[in-house]
Subunit: 471 residues, 2 copies
């Protein structure tokens, strides 16, 4: 039986669901809402996938409350959809079978900061900037930065990463332990606070990236890093995407512990020049950042500069003062709005794939040719140290033809990445949007994934219609 | 139904099992053995837990062969126990319900080295030193070093780590993807070769540490590191365990990217002085190693030396030439044989726990007091940057009293670690020996673990009697 069938479209109006919603309303009072606008805001709002609102939204304030809600939904066969900030990009928060959206944004307490252990325990609704503000005085920071100021629970659920991942890893590497409410309302703690363990199945990593389909993450213990003594930033232009990628490969092979290394393609540079009044050459650029001691970042910058020169880069400009670094990175920081400026009034479809770094130049090159052949305006930016890149398709959502051609392009993009031993998503997740690529990417491994889903959520109430394609 | 009950003790002699063994013998000829000595060697030989041999051993040479064996065992309800080098410490390779040991040591081909991507794909029987020899000419190395020259499949299955983990992580962080044979003989590839992915459940991390209870790992794609340009090693004595631990905490908080930082307690130093003819002061020592550029390792060593001085360490001696580094680290390298020398003729029980680093001094201190009160000779060595430490109990295995008191001590040690927000094992795994601590450590999280086991191995044939305690 498919997950969707277990819930059943007809379930939306059945008597049990009405009873459950009434019980929740009675229990949570003004923290329960059936308002159309609240429901709409709790479904997908970030791309062209339809907005599919839940039947109701409950604003939870504790793990115990989440457990209470899930247990009630379990007993009445009502879908449960966890909601953090709603910034995910593949419609993870949609409710295609209705159900109850659990808004965790009120669970925003920082429960403990263990500076000596370099970890902090937070509620799932705490955002990354909130955590960083709370730990800065201890000389610490949390490195994962997916762009949006997302909730940490949501970042764990979608296995988020971003520009710093090349040095500090993704949410996969930076979650020590989770508290989660499982499908029957049981509260589990996935691991101790030890930095490593060989004690049993890695439930932490199983829940990280599970997008609410196995349990609702309510608390997280996260690894923190010491704030670097010094930061150096730099930028330089390359004659080609390939040259830039080869410079990245050599940088990483040489053991330069680069903290960020971002590729920005020529079209995005053109956008940045227009938007931010810059005069960078319209060529692929690498934006880099180094963390360490003063001597170390100087050495790293020098070593990187030498590698860039080997690949015929333009002048490598670097800086260490915060204001100078911000200026150097402006074209990267402004990428989103600058890109929109390339086609005023258009909508951006942000997508990502990830390939082994040896295939990156080829994958980006073929993708650029594909986009150009279709006449799409679509800059490319990449977390190139990880082989991960983003295409920002600027389309007219009202044009049936453009939408259709964009969807066909996305199909080719994902097939291309998978064929190059890569993945259909490096950091955005599957949600609804990428379910169709799961079989191609995973083949027989979909079997164990389905078995795990069925075992941990036999009624199929946990964020149904996400990750796993229909059988 | 418990895993054990699913197989059933009586199953050992049932007709189906005989048929399966005969079929395997016919199929694999002289790569199949029922010889008593071969069977004994394929069961536990590393500690006091009983040697429980399988019914037969098959020496597999390919993933397809492993799939064939597992499918046949599945169809005839015969337990399957994967075997690499047999060096695990918690009786992971024992066959308490009989069955077929699949010896993977013949699967020792290095299938691909992708130097540009910093990864290599190997068969499960390849050992870590074999991999390192194969990639050295590419300027690369594989950092995980659990001491024994274990097979990489076994290291993944037990989530091994070792001295380098503080900088490079454990097998959890260093496996990119696995090929595994699941309980019904299906071959799955858990992930692509992309460095990161958000595409579905993390089957890689689920199989890492699953000790053969969910599937047989047959191939691995592993992350490699660039060989550092320079290595510096160092050593210094501290007035107390607490001072040494505090120096470690400050080292890590300061962002010094230490590659190794090992605690060796006073008793182990005494053993080393005797065994290796050294004259180190009989006090807790830290052994450190730094990787990086020549300038960087010099800077790291200097920064560490300053921190050590803050905590009243003795003179910090460091060196960069290989022969000098080996000499400096001799007391650490010889730890095993030196410890045995403390009580000639005794047997060593090697055990490990792991706690948050802030609790390490307390945990080691209480453990030392406990050992002394019992009159045990038992040096302590720790991967202290991770909060992980080892106790090497030297006992007379023939003394019922000593064995009993040692078991009671192990119970207290594990309870102590768990009570300090730690884990009953940082890197040895659960196997048979630590199943009794699983409930205390994981509580309600045992439920999802059992559900996953039942879903992926409904017949309970995969390495039964390991990890999960009887229900």
């Amino acid at each position: 039986m498919s997950v969707a069938a277990a819930i059943g479209e007809e379930g939306r109006t059945d008597a049990r669901r009405s009873i459950a919603l009434d019980l929740l309303e009675k229990r949570f009072g003004n923290r329960f809402s059936r308002g159309a606008e609240v429901r709409r805001q709790h479904a997908n709002t970030t791309n062209w996938l339809p907005n599919q609102p839940p039947d109701a939204v409950v604003f939870a304030q504790s793990t115990a409350e989440v457990a209470e809600i899930v247990r009630l939904c379990h007993d009445h066969r009502v879908p449960v959809i966890p909601f953090g900030t709603g910034t995910s990009l593949e419609a993870h928060v949609n409710a295609p079978f209705g159900g109850v959206s659990i808004d965790l944004s009120g669970m925003n307490r920082i429960l403990a900061v263990h500076a000596e252990d370099l970890d902090a325990t937070v509620e799932a609704g705490v955002t990354r900037t909130q955590l960083n503000a709370a730990v800065r005085d201890s000389g610490l920071f949390f490195p994962i930065d997916p762009g949006a100021d997302a909730s940490l629970g949501g970042m764990a659920a979608t296995r988020a990463s971003g520009t710093n991942a090349v040095r500090y890893g993704t949410m996969r590497e930076n979650v020590v332990s989770l508290t989660a409410v499982m499908a029957d309302g049981t509260i589990v703690r996935t691991a101790s606070r030890a930095k490593k363990s060989s004690a049993g199945y890695d439930l932490t990593r199983l829940l990280v990236g599970s997008e609410g389909t196995l349990g609702v993450i309510t608390e997280l213990t996260l690894r923190l890093q010491g704030l670097p003594e010094a930061i150096a930033a730099g930028v330089c232009a390359f004659p080609s995407i390939e040259a830039a990628c080869n410079a990245v490969i050599l940088t990483i092979q040489s053991g330069i512990p680069v903290a960020r290394i971002e590729l920005v393609d020529a079209l995005q540079i053109r956008a940045a020049n227009a938007f931010s009044k810059l005069d960078l050459p319209e060529a692929p650029h690498l934006f880099v950042e180094f963390h360490g001691s003063h001597a170390s970042v100087a050495e790293q910058a020098e070593a990187f500069g030498a590698i860039a020169a080997e690949f015929e880069a333009g002048t490598f400009v670097s800086a260490t003062r915060p204001e100078d670094r911000t200026k150097l990175w402006q074209a990267r920081h402004d990428a989103y709005f600058a890109a929109l400026g390339l086609r005023p009034g258009s909508s951006m479809i942000a997508t990502d794939v990830c390939v082994p770094i040896s295939r990156l130049a080829e994958c980006v090159g073929e993708t650029r040719a594909d986009l150009d052949a279709e006449g799409f305006i679509a800059p490319i930016v990449g977390h190139v140290g990880d082989g991960n890149f983003h295409v920002s398709l600027l389309i007219d959502r009202d044009s049936h033809d453009e939408v259709e051609r964009a969807e066909a392009f996305l199909g080719r993009l994902n097939d291309r990445a998978i064929a190059m031993e890569g993945t259909c998503t490096g950091e955005h997740g599957i949600g609804q949007g990428k379910r169709k690529f799961m079989l191609r990417e995973h083949g027989a491994a979909l079997g164990p994934m389905r078995a795990i889903k069925a075992a941990l959520d036999p009624l199929g109430i946990m964020n149904p219609g996400k990750i796993l394609p229909e059988a």
